[in-house]
Symmetry: C2
Subunit: 195 residues, 2 copies
DNA sequence: GTCGTCATGTAATTCGTTACATGATTTT
DNA sequence: AAAATCATGTAACGAATTACATGACGAC
């Protein structure tokens, strides 16, 4: 999922300026899906225009700087649909919290407890951003996505609350210098060592 | 979450070569957390060694090329704990499926249906990778993470199965050229247009 | 005799971020 | 008077990927 595709996806909803695109990501409830800086948006739009996938017109507005408004061309629309139809690479979430959970035996109880608290706070914050939208977006385009998000975050919160003591109990259980397999499955070291 | 941190996290479990590190990511059940190529692992290890966070020794093995085995130094251990204690940036998942859900009105029913099927297949594949580990890893370091993953994936599958018709019903509902707000909340265009 | 595994590394390229540069207007 | 908002863009930099280069050994 590159910026180009996200630009096309947002422009499919209607024309927008580079500034608008950034606002959709930063202030919108879907910032999980993106988040991009001007330094990548403007060049991306310029390149899309060069490729003929978007067209732009300058819009002068009184009392404000002129804005360059982009919209999909027919070719852009086609490219967007092709992008959406392409087989997706599996989602990768490089999660700080996941690494902490994996490394709990090497970390102090306080570190683990704090990580759990922070994770819960973060997921709760996401829920309180999205939950008010469930009603207002029920019959809009984004209603489904809002529900998806709320459900995911709530489920994770429930899981962590239920299993936090089990994770905290793992904290600090590795003696200094102790060798633990990352995952017992494919750790050939331990097997070789045992032979 | 950069490669450096993941290297430290895996090396905290015990010494490993660059080749080992890659295997932990690619073949292990935790590839969601990472996935990195040799082109990034080897330079990362070299830099960590320069900084004094890891030490290496060459291990000659009969019939196989010699391997350079890395392990954390005291400074590396400290750096690892600091990295883990640092406040995490909120997880961002740039999800292809999420974008499709958001753009359903602009896509055909077939495209949306296929995307749903692919998503379900993908999440089910993750479950069948992780589920067999629930038992074997129950009392190991990674047990918690395995449970976390299984729960997350199963919950998402359940949600999609329950709500797929609702998403499919949205497909193709936008007329060509129609302007739809990405999210009703902060779409000033529609409000301005309505004034 | 070719392909897969073990093993390390470099170079070119892509993608994106941060910081910088500019400038009018409105709010505090 | 300072700060925030609207608005666009470039340049330097960083992080990671892909592709390339090398080479021995074992399996089929």
């Amino acid at each position: 999922m590159n910026i180009r595709t996200i630009c096309l996806a947002i422009l499919a909803h209607g024309e927008a300026s580079g500034y608008d695109l950034k606002k959709h990501w930063e202030d919108g409830p879907f910032f999980h899906l993106g988040g991009a800086s001007f330094g990548s948006i403007y060049p991306a739009l310029a390149r899309l225009e060069q490729e003929g996938l978007v067209a732009s017109r300058e819009e002068t507005q009184p009392g404000k700087p002129p804005r360059r408004v982009y919209s999909l061309t027919a070719a852009g629309s086609k490219a967007f649909i092709e992008d959406m139809s392409a087989a997706p690479e599996p989602d990768v979430f490089r999660s700080h919290f996941g690494i902490i959970a994996l490394c709990a035996p090497f970390l102090s109880r306080e570190t683990v407890a704090r990580a759990i608290d922070e994770r819960l706070a973060q997921q709760r914050a996401e829920v309180s951003t999205l939950e008010p939208l469930v009603e207002s977006e029920r019959h809009s385009t984004s209603g489904w996505l809002v529900d998806w998000g709320v459900t995911q975050f709530k489920n994770e919160i429930a899981f962590i609350e239920k299993n936090r003591s089990r994770l905290e109990a793992l904290a600090g259980t590795a003696k200094p210098g102790e060798h633990l397999p990352v995952c017992a499955l494919h750790d050939t070291d331990t097997q070789t060592a045992a032979e």
